[in-house]
């Protein structure tokens, strides 16, 4: 079970703006194996959603994707035809979006929407497709699944809609699941239920999962490995336990210090902060993009930043060996 499903090397996404190219994603590399969950974590504008759209070839028109290598199950996505990508997407590569109300079509029943992609990809009969839909709704914990097929998205609660989205993503038995902030729009109790469901299904079906979130709490609980993004780059990547126990990049350290943790941070005490704002990603960017906000910055940070690595595959881009 260590087969690499997704291999990304040197992926960049540039968006044309009137002021020049905006480098939304800058030369990022990562891979995900079968049965593994990789979390991309970062704050708004760090490029995490653009990364997922680039992999799925769903970028907006103004954006261009370049990569040294972008392979899905050893197939080169960079060279694949539009037809081939369309065949893979929704079949072997599936995606779950943040807001199930906008991702589902309000004019069709959920049955229609579940069945559509399956018939498209599998050339199956209506009856077979419905059987698969009932099977999956059942699997994502929706009771009386057969009756639910006739319902419209607005008749379901937010938690149920997200379960339908998950069922839809799993209809064709994908090898790769990309979940972009799948629980951000949900209440906390529902969030816990949906994440448990995702984690259980991912383990049971041996899917490779890329989960995109801004929430370090989710990351800690679900990820096997974590990639921390800042200003379009992966600034740190490593096994979850190692990254949380020993964050090497000052940005990762700063993020962890910002979060109040019941039982750990002192109630009413001061929380850590990261001063300053994210730099503009338009035009040429040199050196470490975090240096203006970093308390450890030195002159050398304006030059190229070294990529460091430990034996257990924990990597970070910083002149420091250890964040203090």
């Amino acid at each position: 079970m260590s087969e690499t499903i997704l291999d990304v090397d040197g992926l960049s996404v540039d968006i044309a703006t009137p002021r020049g190219a905006l480098h939304a994603v800058r030369d990022i590399s990562f891979s995900v194996k079968r049965g593994e969950t990789l979390c991309l974590v970062g704050e708004s504008g760090c490029g995490k959603s653009m990364t997922s759209l680039a992999i799925m070839d769903l970028l907006p028109k103004a954006a261009t994707r370049t990569a040294r290598r972008l392979t899905f199950a050893d197939e080169d996505l960079g060279k694949a035809s539009r037809k081939r990508v369309n065949a893979l997407r929704g079949d072997r590569m599936a995606m779950i979006f943040q807001e199930p109300m906008t991702a589902l079509n309000p004019a069709y029943t959920i049955g229609n929407q579940l069945v559509e992609a399956y018939r498209q990809h599998r050339n199956a009969s209506e009856a077979e497709a419905r059987e698969q839909a009932v099977h999956l709704l059942d699997k994502v914990g929706i009771a009386s699944a057969a009756q639910r097929l006739g319902q419209y998205p607005h008749q379901l609660s937010g938690g149920l809609r997200q379960r339908v989205m998950i069922a839809m993503a799993l209809m064709c038995g994908p090898d790769l699941l990309i979940a972009d902030e799948p629980t951000t729009a949900l209440d906390v109790t529902i969030q816990a239920q949906i994440l448990r469901l995702l984690a259980d299904l991912q383990r049971e079906l041996g899917i490779a999962m890329v989960l995109i979130t801004h929430d370090l709490g989710i990351v800690a609980r679900i990820a096997d490995r974590v990639a921390v993004m800042y200003a379009g780059q992966i600034v740190e990547e490593g096994p979850t336990a190692s990254l949380f126990a020993n964050p090497r990049h000052p940005y990762t350290q700063g993020l962890i210090d910002c979060i109040p943790v019941p039982g750990r941070t002192v109630p009413g005490g001061r929380l850590g902060t990261i001063p300053g704002v994210v730099p503009s990603l338009v035009g040429e960017i040199r050196g470490c993009s975090f240096r203006d906000r970093c308390s450890h910055a030195r002159d050398i940070c304006a030059a190229t930043v070294p990529l460091k690595e430990t034996a257990d595959g924990h990597q970070w881009r910083c002149i420091l060996e250890n964040a203090v």
Partner: protein, 345 residues
Amino acid sequence: MTALLEAHDLTRSFEVSQGMFKARRKLHAVNGISLDIRKGEVLGIVGESGCGKSTLARMLLGLLPPTEGGITLDGTDIRSLGRKGMARRVQPVFQDPYSSLNPRRTVASIVALPLEVHGIGTAAERRKQALGILDKVGLPQRFADRYPRELSGGQRQRVAIARALVMNPEVVVCDEPTSALDVSVQSQILNLLMDLRRDLGLTYVFISHNLAVVEHIATRVAVMYLGRVVELAETEALFRTPRHPYTKALLASVLTPEPGQGIPETGLGLAFPDPLNPPSGCPFHPRCPARISQCSTTVPRLLQFGRDAVACHLHDAGQSIPSPSDDGATMRHSLPLPQKRKQSE
């Protein structure tokens, strides 16, 4: 501590259209809430979407009249204070700093507007006062003549806080003040709110769905569910020994950044709270893993435990209070304790 702002049996219902030919239905957004907000405290109000926490906030601000019940400020009915009199003493900070600031006004004039409305001082004095308060919330003078679109989310929220404070209010009602912000900005705003409270002796009502944030900032917490307060307790006690099964589930759902603990099982099942069709009896009973027979028939009353209160039949006199071991494996709640991921069945 004396009660500064008090809600007495507050109820607010809305008439909701069900479509052209169907009768309108009553939605009880807030259903008989009594609360006292004491001088100098931070009362956290937590609950999920649709539980009525924002409706409660708007009533506490005097922006929405209650259908039944009333609110007093220092013992005076707020209806006799009038909108302006109320605004001098109770001010809001809303969730979205993108929609709560007038895009056509500069930062200084946004902050000075309450003074203008109340006819306080000359234009020059108002500006001076606005600049003073902007400085207090960490926005230097150079921001004064900028427009909201030129500011980041965190800076906008600072402007909203400055506007709330320029009238020297006693109470600030913060409705999800950090929910739209990134975590690194959230921590700055939380630090700021705590500094301001200490420096200016403010009282906060702090509404949030984020339990970790509430634990950090609140001194007392009210847990709301479908328009009712189901538990009210000092923050430390609530997080250490929650009494209501819903509070337990909420606390169990907090995902702290601690690897290896897995994702908690809340034990809540698939029922979903629908404010338009509230269940009979205890509003939480369809989701409650610890429900007993009377939960579906009788609305539990709010029981006082010293200064704390809980509305749950399990804690009512005559009922045997389940010992912790009866709580069931799914109800482990206290946050600092390790919660092992349950193996998938």
